[in-house]
Amino acid sequence: MPAYFNFAIKRLWQFVLVVFIGINIAYVITHVTPIDPVEQSISAVTSFGNTSPEAIADMRRSLQELYGLKGDWIEQYISFWRRILQADFGPSLSAFPAPVTSLIARALPWTFGLLAFTTLVSWSVGNLLGALAGYYRNNRSLKFFGVLAMALHPVPYYIVALSLMIVFGFIWPVLPITGGSAMDVQQGWNWQFVASVFHHSVLPALSLIMIGIGSWFLGMRSLVSNIITEDYVVYAEIGGVAQSRMMGSYIIRNALAPQVTGLAMSLGGIFNGAVITEKIFGYPGLGSLLVDGVYAGDYGLVLGVTSIAIIGVSLSVLVIDLIYPLIDPRVQVAS
């Protein structure tokens, strides 16, 4: 147990390091710009209409702190981090004066729900089908599914989402293609709302799942076809171990470890896919927020969503890393 504790501490440090580096990268990027981001953002906002001079001064101040333009570069850096650590990304320019944090808080559950659900489904179903395909190599339907997976796997999220939108939005319009829920339904924990959310998430979830399942299926299938040549699987077959036990404890269990690692490594890519899918279907998650923020020149919002994305993905990877030694007893957690 103490070995695990040391391991957990080490991984926690790594998490902090990754988040630190990631947000620093974001900071550095904004500082290579030749343009003055503060004036640009302010002119973008004030062009919308009347904002009081106090509000503009307030905005300028917080933007300068956020951009880190006040004082010399050390002061800039410190004030930037001070704000970040307080989760204060300043007011949103596109939804002025709502603070960025509140916009993110509103969008986060949508993205989290969509991602958690689709990742879980594609990972488990894809792995299960892949394991079956790797073991029962002559099954026709599994072979067919494999061809399908191979055709879908390299296609980027955007194209799948676009195709689904065309098919279900225009050719056979049975599913809603924009929004998180119907406009006329009241938000809250009532049955109508939940059903509407469900209805609206079918297409975005479907596009994420269609691609995700293919990747896990192919990976698992090749893992399993290697595993069935391992001595302990051959021995279990000689020994007449029951088929279900063999599938579960000898094959899938042993193939799971690399797939869990693979899950951790692909979380960044999954988030990327979610961003574009949300934008296409107008799903009110972090993805749409990010893109709309860029269009509107809302620096605080873009920085905020980027930071949350970095933190979120790193956190998920951390959780998976911490779970891993519990799955594989061979892993020596003592360094």
């Binding site: 990631g22 999220y157 990327n272 020149g297």
Partner: protein, 288 residues
């Protein structure tokens, strides 16, 4: 190497299909040099014309011939993917081989950096770049940025090959028999390392082209360099789907999907050819 390609062509379905698709795409790209219209000109032909004998794939709402525009777009997109793949190869190979061969603290430091880059979601970072650079972001600059961010996944693969080669017995034998390090790397190890470099290059191309298309569709692109993503972006701006100008969207999508699937199939069949165990399972059995 040539024999391998011929063998694959003769016997491997996936390889054949992949090569076929890529040949079509590359031919289209090659044809772009014969295009009668300069790439960035608009309204050179009557707009919104469906596919016909005059305009093979129809024309766009901006008055461009879809076929010729597509050929230029796919050429730029392919060149972009190739550029990112080659540049990031340099970083992946250096990091992967150093990590794998040298081991020790070099490995630990490099992998710590590497894993950071794997975990950080690149899409928001790229969007951030566009946000600050806006109109001064050219396609070449994007290629440079992407290649300096997207090497991490592949370097891990190369590193594991290097690690396994280092501990193989034939390496120890070669060292003891007096071969220089350079000779060992060139004659003994290169045949193992080259295939993985090749397949990661193809996968990297898929990744970078996919990312470029996604960024361009959102409008984060270089207006002066027409790419596939750019074509789709303009089509969306003119609400082509709703207006019924389906050929403006469909043909770029088909072409880019052909590229993705083609590259992927080639990479997969080469990987399978290299791994003797997958050859065995192709024959129908795994137990030797």
């Amino acid at each position: 190497m040539k024999r391998i390609i011929f063998d694959l062509l003769k016997y491997n379905n996936e390889f054949r299909i992949g090569v076929f698709l890529i040949l079509i795409v590359v031919t289209m790209a090659g044809l772009s040099f014969f295009s009668p219209y300069p790439p960035n000109d608009v309204f050179v032909v009557p707009p919104d014309a469906p596919p016909s004998a005059d305009y093979w794939l129809g024309t766009t709402s901006r008055g461009q011939d879809v076929f010729w525009q597509l050929s230029i777009a796919i050429r730029n997109t392919l060149a972009f993917g190739l550029l990112v793949a080659l540049l990031s190869r340099v970083i992946s190979i250096v990091v992967g081989l150093s990590s794998g061969y040298l081991g020790g603290w070099v490995d630990r430091v490099l992998m710590a950096i590497n894993d950071t880059f794997i975990v950080i979601p690149l899409f928001p970072i790229l969007i951030l770049f566009y946000f600050v650079l806006r109109d001064s972001m050219s396609t070449i600059l994007l290629a440079l940025i992407m290649s300096s961010l997207g090497w991490a996944y592949d370097s891990r693969l190369i590193r594991s090959v290097a690690m396994s080669l280092k501990t193989r017995e034939f390496t120890g034998t070669s060292v003891f028999s007096g071969m220089t390090i350079f000779e060992i790397l060139r004659r003994e190890h290169l045949p193992y390392v080259l295939p993985i470099i090749f397949s990661t290059t193809l996968n990297n191309m898929n990744w970078s082209i996919g990312l470029e298309v996604t960024l361009a569709v959102l409008g984060f692109m270089d207006i002066n360099t027409p790419t596939i993503g750019g074509m789709i972006y303009w089509a969306n701006q003119h609400t082509a789907i709703v207006a019924g100008i389906w050929w403006w969207v469909t043909f770029p999508v088909i072409t880019v999907v052909a590229t993705f699937v083609g590259l992927y199939l080639i990479a997969v069949s080469i990987n399978e050819y290299i791994d003797p165990r997958s050859r065995l399972s192709r024959m129908g059995g795994g137990q030797s």
